[in-house]
Structures are given as C-alpha cells and as structure tokens.
Subunit: 563 residues, 2 copies
C-alpha cells in the first residue's frame, strides 16, 4: 500500500489556482454600484470620493482589531488570521469587510514578508497587491520627493525662508530596500547643481506622508495635514512647514487617487479594503482611517489589524488611530503561535518542530503581558492560536488550558490550511465577546498629559518598564516641543518589535528594565511625536540572496517567484 502525501502548495500557487470574481460583483455585495468603483483591471478597484460622500449618514458596524504577541522569526500569521476571520464571519452570514494594510514593494525584492495573508486565507490578486498594486505607494514616493526637490530648489534659488541646510529634516524616499541610500551627500558638482548637504532616503512607507494619508478622512484634511509637516528649521531654529513653502496643494493633487480605498477580495470572495501601510515603529502601523471608516459604513463587521505586536501596533491603534478616527475596536483578537511562544521561552529557531512544554510555558509570559495591556485599555478580547503543522497535541492542549485558567476565551484556528472554515470557532467567540461586552474603552493617557507623562505611561503600562531615561538631547527636545505647542499630540514610540523592552534580544517578558529615549521627531502633519528608543531602521537593506533572483514572468504576464 502506498500513501499519497498531499503536496503542500505555496501561497502563490494557491493564489493562482483560485478563481476571482469581477470586483464589480464584490462591490455589489456591499451595496456599491458599478459607478462607485474606479477599476484597476478586472479585480481591483478604488472607491470613488462621490460614493464615500454618499455614505455620510450610514450607521457604523462593529470593529474587530487583530494584534499579536511580540513577533519572532517563527511567524505569527496575524494577516492570515485577519483574512481567515473575515471569511469565517461571512460564512456565518455576518456581512464583513476586511481592512488591511497594503504591502511595500521594496521588501518583496528582498526577504519576502508578505502582507496579503497566506495559504487559503489570502487577499487576491496577491501578485498585484505585492507589486505596484494601484500605485498608492508610488504616489506617496512622488509627493515625498516632489517636496524634497522643492525644498532644495528653494534653498538653491535664494532661500527666502532662510532655511538652514544643515537642518533640513525632510528626507527623500523610495519603495526599495537600498542601504546605500541611507546616508548620502546631495548637491555636489558646483553652483548650478544645487547646495551640497547631507541627506538620506527612507523607504517610502516610513515617509510622514504615508502616515498623513492614513489618518486623513477627506481631501481637505489631507491638505491641512500635509501643510503642517515640518521640513526644516531656519537659521533662528524655527520650524519651516510645507505651508510656508506653499506647496500643500500640489502634494494633495499628487495624492488625490492614493487617498481612495482599494477594494479587492479574499480567496473566498470576501470584500477587502487594502489601503495604506505606514511603518509600525516610526509611524502608527495601521491601514487608513479612510478605508476603515468606509468599511464600517458598508458592513456590519470590519476586521482590521495593526502592525507588529500589541505593545507597538495595538497601543498605537488605541492611543492614536482610534482617537483620529473617533472609533475604537468592539473586540480585539490577540494572535499567538506555539512556535513563537516557544521562542519566547528560549527554544531556538532550529528546534521549533520539537515538542517543548517547558519552553511553551515559559514563553506564555509574553502573551500574558499583552493580555494585561489590553485589559488596561478596557477592550474585550479573544486569544487566537494560529495552528502550525508541527504543533503537538500536548502543546495545543497545554496552551488552551492555560488560557482557560486565565478565564479568557481562546480559539484554535486553522485558517492557513482551511480558509474561513478554520476560523469559524474564533468568529463565534469574537461575536460572543462583542455581544456580551459592557466595557467602555479608555485610552491609556489623555492628550492634555505632557509628552513626558505620555512616554512614561506607555513604557510602564505597556512595556512593563520600571522607568524611562532620556538623553540630554531628548530632554531638551521635550521642553522645546512643549514650548512650541506640540505637547498636546500623542506619542508614537519607535521601539524594536522583537521585545517588550528596547533590547531586541530580551524575549519573553523582561523585567526590571528601563527604556531610553534618544531623540524625539515631530510629525506634526501626522499628528504625533515620534520617540526614538534604540536604533530604528527606516531603510532596510537587501540580503545576500535577494528574493529578486527567483522572480520572473511568463509571456502572458503571470508572475513567477513571488511567495
């Protein structure tokens, strides 16, 4: 007797074997007409401003936020759970839209992370979404670099605003992993080639414009936020803004289509709005308010996610985005995997397929901390165990039992292998939580708190730090920013995603540590103050063997080597 082993298909194989519905059919499902959708090919569309204006008086559905424990190289599958949960809710006949971030192309050419889910819980067409999609990020790069060119041109053409070229803070950007552009000198070659100065490129999703776009609810708000961005300081150290340059209109024009949410579908034909994707360290790491709010008006349930673990993504969702959007989640899903918990408990990456109950138990401290954090925000939540093949029954049983002992709802999900079917139990538990919820959401700090109080609240309550230290520079900036009137803005922490602390090597639940704030960066257009802890990479590099080596396309334009 021979056993036939089922071949495990790759994400792109599953995606390419799937049958898509025309996107206009998906639009009709959620009450939009053909005229409401601006098509980008047959399977992608942007929702027009006109149709969004028409939704003004619609009531809003329930919002479900997916977050996770601190990420490890083992993978958590937060996007996969987000997609699977949306599909599951639709299987239960709950009208649901998935609202996710759009991936950056740069990392696709390097080590592919993928933000389109995986297995049978993916959004499609994955090739397009992972490459140029509808051009949103290209528009952001263009607006970013138009502004950079306009700043340098201003200095070159006479510098009426008296900009100090040593204090230009607006960097150029590109959607590429390109370490050689991190630190550069521009304007070389003599007087007709501009004014020499030090500069650098960030990856486009780290541009403040990405954050601004994701927090704007109208063309008017977009223009206003763009105008407030600080690009440089003048010779008397006063900030110079986009409005001072007078180019906020031009930047808005370049972004007019990028502001419209993108409609696509999952493998199971659930509607998905994939729109905006700011970094989750240097920025707030959530999809656009425009997409989330539009989805809430069009569906009874909206499943969305935030970047990295709950200490970064969910904290920023709850303290920054929820405030900007005027909407907090009705329930949160906290994703954990047995593999990742074992890594937090000291298991090495190579041994993850080996059962290790003590490591699992030790790693639970990480999960526990994030549960405590969500409780402080007073939001109901369900723990989702995202199943991997190597998880042993003993491990699964131990984890479920632990959660139940904590008196917490937990669901074993298998959405990678089974699509929505694998998330039905999770969906039911989330619905129960929403039904029975009597809690009232409260952000962790008030906007009227000082910047220092905000930083210390996050560090102590979310990270579990014993205290916060400041460099001399950061301390001076705290004072300066309060004087400039920026103290009323929320804080956006830039911290490693791998640890609750600011040291990426400290897994699990570190204790007795302090957080060091090295520097603050004003993102006045985005409407937050970035507080930098350790080194934060805003321009990734390519690995020794970039994923690009395996990529190609056949004569009909079908992608090869995306995964």
């Amino acid at each position: 007797m021979t056993t036939i082993k089922k071949k495990v298909l790759s994400d792109i194989e599953i995606a390419q074997q799937s049958t898509l519905l025309p996107i206009v059919d998906i639009a009709k499902k959620i009450g939009l007409t053909e005229d409401d959708v601006e098509l980008y090919g047959k399977y992608k569309g942007k929702i027009s401003f006109e149709s969004i204006h028409k939704l003004k008086d619609h009531s809003e559905g329930k919002l479900i936020l997916v977050t996770s424990i601190n990420p490890t190289p083992a993978g958590e599958g937060k996007s996969t759970v987000t997609v699977g949960l949306g599909d599951a809710l639709n299987r239960l006949n709950k009208e649901t839209i998935i609202a996710m971030r759009e991936p950056s192309l740069g990392p696709t050419m390097g080590i592919k992370g993928g933000a389109t889910g995986g297995g049978y819980s993916q959004v499609l067409p994955m090739e397009d979404i992972n490459l140029h999609f509808t051009g949103d990020i290209h528009a952001i790069s263009t607006a970013n670099n138009a502004l950079a060119a306009l700043v340098d041109n201003h200095i070159h053409q006479g510098n009426e605003l008296n900009i100090d070229q040593r204090r230009v803070v607006w960097k150029r950007s590109i959607d590429m992993n390109d370490r050689s552009l991190r630190q550069i000198i521009v304007g070389l070659g003599g007087p007709v080639q501009g004014v020499p100065r030090e500069d650098g490129f960030d990856i486009s999703v780290a541009s403040e414009i990405m954050a601004v776009l994701c927090l704007s609810q109208s063309i008017g708000e977009l223009r206003k936020r763009l105008g407030q961005m600080v690009v440089a300081y003048n010779r008397i150290k006063q900030p110079v803004t986009v409005e001072d340059l007078g180019v906020e209109g031009a930047l808005t024009l370049l972004l007019k289509d990028a502001l419209k949410p993108n409609l696509v579908q999952t493998i199971e034909h659930s509607p998905a709005l994939i729109h905006g994707g700011p970094f989750a360290n240097i920025a707030h790491g959530c999809n656009s308010v425009m997409a989330t709010k539009t989805a809430l008006k069009l569906a009874d349930y909206v499943v969305t996610e935030s970047g990295f673990g709950a200490d970064l993504g969910a904290e920023k969702f709850l303290n920054i985005k929820a405030r900007a959007a005027g909407k907090s989640p009705d329930a949160v899903v906290l994703v954990a995997t047995i593999r990742a918990l074992k890594m937090h408990g000291g298991q090495s990456k190579e041994d993850l397929q080996i059962e290790n109950l003590p490591a699992l138990e030790k790693g639970l401290s990480n999960l526990k901390k994030h549960m405590e954090t969500l409780e402080q925000f007073n939001v109901p939540f369900v723990i989702a165990i995202n199943k991997f093949r190597a998880d042993s029954d003993h491990e699964i049983h131990a984890l479920i039992k632990w959660c139940e002992n904590q008196n917490k709802k937990v669901s074993l999900t298998d959405v990678w292998a089974k699509g929505g079917e694998g998330g039905v139990d999770l969906a039911q538990k989330v619905l129960e939580e929403i039904e029975g919820n009597k809690k009232e959401f409260s952000p962790l700090y008030e906007l009227s708190d000082s910047l220092q109080v905000k930083i210390e609240t996050i560090a102590k309550k979310v990270y579990g730090a014993s205290g916060v230290e400041y460099t001399v520079k950061a301390r001076k900036q705290l004072e300066e920013f309060e004087t400039r009137g920026w103290g009323v803005l929320p804080i956006c922490m830039a911290k490693t995603q791998y640890s609750l602390s600011d040291d990426p090597a400290k897994l699990g639940r570190p204790e007795n540590f302090t957080i060091t704030i090295r520097e603050l960066k004003p993102k006045i257009g985005a409407g937050f103050i970035v507080a930098l802890t350790g080194e934060v990479m805003t321009m990734p590099g390519l690995p020794k063997k970039p994923a690009a080596f395996g990529m190609d396309v056949d004569e009909d334009g079908r992608a090869i080597g995306l995964f």
Copy 2:
C-alpha cells in the same frame, strides 16, 4: 455697442469641459471587446497581452510620422498637430489611431511642457495622463532602482563579479526635476551602510529601461534586452550586465504591466495609444513599438510623433525605431510655426507678435534643411503650418507661397482652436501623398557601417556639419566598442535640440561647423550607442517659481492648476 470678446480657455478648462466616452466604447470602435481592455478607471485602459497576441495575423495600416523644425521657446505644437490630424482623419471616415508618448511627471511640477496636445486637440483625461497615468513610469523607476540596489548590494555582500565600484555606470532614477540629485555620494556611514561611491540620479524617462521598454515587442524580448544592459565594469574593465547579476526576470516582472499599451481618447473621441516616452537626446524619443504596432493592426491609419526636431526625433525614428519595428512611415508631416521660423530668423521672443517678413524668410533656412533631410530618407512629406493667433496674413501667405515654390505640399492647420476640423486639409494632403507615393524608404546608413561612419553620416547629412571631431576619450571608445562587437548597433546622437549644430545658440541653418563627440555610452539593452556632443542634461532642475505653486485639487478630486 459693446463687443463681446470670447474668452480664450486654458487647456485644462477645455479638457474639463469635454465629455468623455467610457473607454470600453472607444475600444469597441477599434474592434476590441471589453475583455481585451484592463481598465484603469472609466477612461483609461491597458490592452491585454492576450488580445495583442490575437492580432498577430492582422494586416497593418499606414503609418504617419509627425516631426518639426528645431524647437524654439515660441512653441511648435507638434503634439497638438498629431492629435488634430488624427481627429481630422477620423472626420474623413478613415479609421485612425493616434500613438503618442506619455509625459513625464517631473517636468509637470516645474515648467509645464505638456505632451497631451493643446486647445481642442488634446488627449484625455489630461490630468491623469500628466500625473501618474497608469503607473508606467513609476514601474520604470522601480525597476531602475531595484537594479541599482541589487548592484550595490552585490558589491556590499562580497562582490563576486569583481565590480569596480568606480566604474558602476548604472545610475538611479526618479521622475522628478531634482538638480540636487545629479551628483551625489552614496553608501556613507560605515561598513553596514554599503560601499561609498559617486553616483547620481537621472530623470526616469532617461533610464535605459524606458528605451528598452519602448523597443520591446514581447515579454521575451523585454527580458532579453534588460539582460543585455551594461551596469558596470569589473576590475579587468570587462562589462558586467544584468544577466551576469541574474535579475533580468525580476526586472521583467516589475515591468509586465508597463509593457501593455494605454488606450485613451481625444476630445473628439478618437482612440489614442499613449505609451512610453524616452528622452529624445540620450535615447530615441519615440513612443513604444508595442503601441505603434498594435495600433497599426487595429486601424487603417496611425499618427505618431517623434521628439524634438527632425534632426533628432525623426532621424532616430527612421534609423533606430523603424528598424526595430520593421516598419517605416508611409508619410511624414513636418510642423513649422511662423513664430518659431521668425525666431530662427533672428526675431526676439518678446517681438513675436509683430509682423516680420524678413525674419520669417531668413528662418525658412531651418525648415529647408529638415525638408532636405526627409528627402534623403526618401519618405513623402507634407508641411503643416500650425496657426497661432498673432500670425499675420502676409506672413501666412508668404510661407505658403515659399512652400509651393519648393514644389511641396503645405497645409495651414488650425487644430488648437478648431480640433479635427482645423486639420482636415492637412489630412487630405497627407492621404494624397500616401496614395501617390512611389518612393522607397531608405535609412541613412547600414548597420554594418562602422560607428564612426554612422556618426559622420548623421552629422553631415542631417545636421549639415562639415566634419566631426572626437575627444581622446571618444576616439578610444570607438575602437573599444568595435572590439567588443558593439559596432553593429545604430547610433543615438545626444545633441541640443535647439540647433542643427551642437551649439544651442546657433539658430536657423548654421554652416561651416563641426560636431564634437565627447563620449560614447553603450546602451546594449536598448540596442544603440549614445554619442554625446555638448552637455546633455539627464536630470532637469526646477525653476524659481515651479508650476507646483499653483496646483491643487478640489474635494471631489478634480485637478486645479495643470495647464
């Protein structure tokens, strides 16, 4: 009695007052079905590879090339005549498609040139076409910069190919006018930030990838040409190509949609393929072969244009593109304006509205040279006088008479003010030329000629130079390139567009001058050798008051301040 003066509308006002047909209706006019077109909104579409494959056995229509005298700041309106002639042919019930270049966004933010025609002879939606359009140029920038990052990553990660970082010839690119990026130093900041070296950005349309895309007729040809591009030289001065790096597949993948021609319409609903737009000095300056060939299979007549004057654009169309496409023009239209001819005759820009018959007569020498050039290629042509408001009746009469004395067909066109109606006479004369044509097109040189013979043929026969001088470097390169086997490629001259000579100040028809070849650049993917004469700008700068200052967008996403 009051006289009511009719307000002269701007291009964008005329465009926004026009009613567009859904692009699927335009597609149907030329025999395409809804499924053949990948929509980008309601009014733009890309023609799918599948539908292009289906056209394989269709017969080809007649090709009409629009070129002009040497451009002056007075404007010639070549694109406007191209659009108007297409509309006029359709008015005469000749099935006609217009095949033009797509504009670069960078210059739109600086001093707007506009490549979408003007007045009532425009392609629409002009706002979209002048901004991000369907993302082709963004895809080109991305592929260009992915390659740059991969080259620097190769050097950083061990440099197996032994690339000499002082001899990396592949530059980065951006679709922006940004002089500060012309000469830069990258890779600063220590060992983890890459290898420091001198570098620079070109505007994206000057990237070899733009030329490659425009000369490729299939995914396979695109991949092959991309693979042949030279990116650097190694330590033993041998060329390193994209194939050596092994990333031609990834670049092709990034360009798969950009290779598909874009379908739009004119104000009068004529179909137009707007696709590709390489520089007309550092590259060959024509729209894509893919679009031209597709248009020829779909229509009886195709009107296309080449960049700058006939000395650059038409020469390259006829010696480079016609060879690559296997199709030469059935007729040429040579555009002149009275304003520009007067400038060639010494009239200053400020006095152009003043009648000046002697200046006009003197300036005719420029037109005369281009007529002689076209005769050498043995192509039939018609002279189009593109009417401007200030042209006096005397001037118009004198110009027409001069052309008739030369025994040349001439037509006074008024397509800016009247659309296709203003070009009907031109259309009829072009049709007569095509009908009566017994000439057989011949390129000016054979591919088997040496590079030096090719250069000297162009300089003498097209520019009217008495001879060619070479720098020591260029002379060495001529020898080197022949040794490498590159001598069989055509020459792409990089020369100022303002003069027949290599000195932009010499208007009219300069005589007794030599052309100096400073340097050669191998563009093996594009399939030509660039010969640089004077300084050629591959990265424009912004003016003191950039057009961006006047741009904005209203709450419904309608553009303001494009013109």
